[in-house]
Symmetry: C2
Subunit: 319 residues, 2 copies
Amino acid sequence: MSPSFAIGIDIGGTSTKIGIVDHSGKVICQDTLVTNTFSSVDLFIDSLYNKIVPMIQQVGGIDTIIGIGVGAPNGNIYSGAIEYAPNLQWKGIIPLASFIQIKFGLPTTLTNDANAAALGEMMYGATKNVPHFIMITLGTGVGSGIVIDGKIVVGHDGFAGELGHTIIRHDGRLHIGTGMRGSVESYASATGVINTALEFLNIQPEKASLLRNYAPESLTSKDIYTCAMQGDDIAKEVFEFTGKILGEALSNFVMFSSPEVIVLFGGLTNAGALIMTPTKFHLEKNLLPIFKNKIKLVFSELNESDAAIIGASALAWEK
Amino acid sequence: MSPSFAIGIDIGGTSTKIGIVDHSGKVICQDTLVTNTFSSVDLFIDSLYNKIVPMIQQVGGIDTIIGIGVGAPNGNIYSGAIEYAPNLQWKGIIPLASFIQIKFGLPTTLTNDANAAALGEMMYGATKNVPHFIMITLGTGVGSGIVIDGKIVVGHDGFAGELGHTIIRHDGRLHIGTGMRGSVESYASATGVINTALEFLNIQPEKASLLRNYAPESLTSKDIYTCAMQGDDIAKEVFEFTGKILGEALSNFVMFSSPEVIVLFGGLTNAGALIMTPTKFHLEKNLLPIFKNKIKLVFSELNESDAAIIGASALAWEK
């Protein structure tokens, strides 16, 4: 019997999503773990194992499984390790792919979470048969997966594609996690959008805004979206500004790899045209003439709740 | 008889360099044309032909030649055309590779001049056996050739690798040629260095400087180098600032493709440590921890006067 399924594991700072996925990208069954409740990697893997073994039985046993793909922050495809991930409590270099492979007896591939997302998009989403594209994940942070000639760019050490940390405003907003100023992530992440809203409220104290009805410390990017949809000027300005920064950043990225498509993915894309329209405008505005009106800027076609698992599972087929 | 030589043609806004190069990268014979004296491409090709045919005879006839490689501004490897090159007087799309191939009866490949330089470096220079590197050409403008997995990145349309036009200072210095503000090229090119010197002289009118002995309109980057080597403070500040901008830009590029080596090439590299030291400092300063102390920043190992021809000739072997 040839294998019909792959296991996808997406490790995030908060939760770890696991699922079994068929070759068409359909998630057959899935579950989650709370990542940071496990003080040691061993305990985490034991818990993964206890969750996944019944799922494997459910789809027909281990012979139906081609392998395991893992997406993780600072995941390195060369070493199969998570290396110094700032938002995980396991410190240093964790050779997670080896640990999982030994525990499960299945070939295991691990990579950066945004690279896994790009692979999922290429296999099942908006960029099937697109050899040159860039995927930007707009979530709590800003990640990226760059595809050139149909291959994920990983660079000489496995860490390529950290476009969220490129600097778009010299001496700009401080990014708490990295200590850098003016990175794309400091503006175009969910956190960045909230900070922009708080700044805009602060510098226009006399201006009425629905955003003032929210406690600053619990404001979310979804709240800002809700206010913008209700016509709130400051909330709309927040998305305008975020799209401006993101569009300018994308135009820099285009001059690197000249992609045919740029895919936006993640929580912020729920804002739809509020984020797409200014991003597209400022992308085009900042391109050299030879790049203008060539690039398709689109939202991911993957279902957000499944995408992380699907992307990770794609790694297993890819191998 | 198997071919022993390749013809390299480097087309610049001012001069076109032509040469016959052996497989070890040695230039056997070379000549130049003044590019913009030819009002039509036909006349240019006729003149190329008249120069090159005797050179071919000199090395043993057309059977000794593998093909022709051409490096040109806005050269597109897919179409073999020069497309809308701002500094050439032939406008629009010029299918130069086809024209040359027909005229000479030899396979002809054309690409962007900075990509040709990167290919030359990979075959004969500092990046032999280095699969991931970025070449930055610091001349009148700033060009780039990006190599990933041993291949030049050309993107979906052939125009990837325009890192000189990425924006490093939002709302920064106007780039006359593109109309963009704050591009790397507006600071880190020879022209940029001169503009920086003029600005620095202007904002410190009371400060003595050897640079004040030069007429502003005829100041060159070499003059600024000469003054810096004589200990002139403002001239030294100019290189410090240029290296700061360039180092910051390189750190952004690293987060894209994570190269093992970055090669600096072109006129500005004659400034040696004056440009290398601040560039390296600000590159490292702006890298995320996972990238720090990994990247070799080096000068090109190609002889500058031959490099353009060697790089272009490398295209013919590559094909």
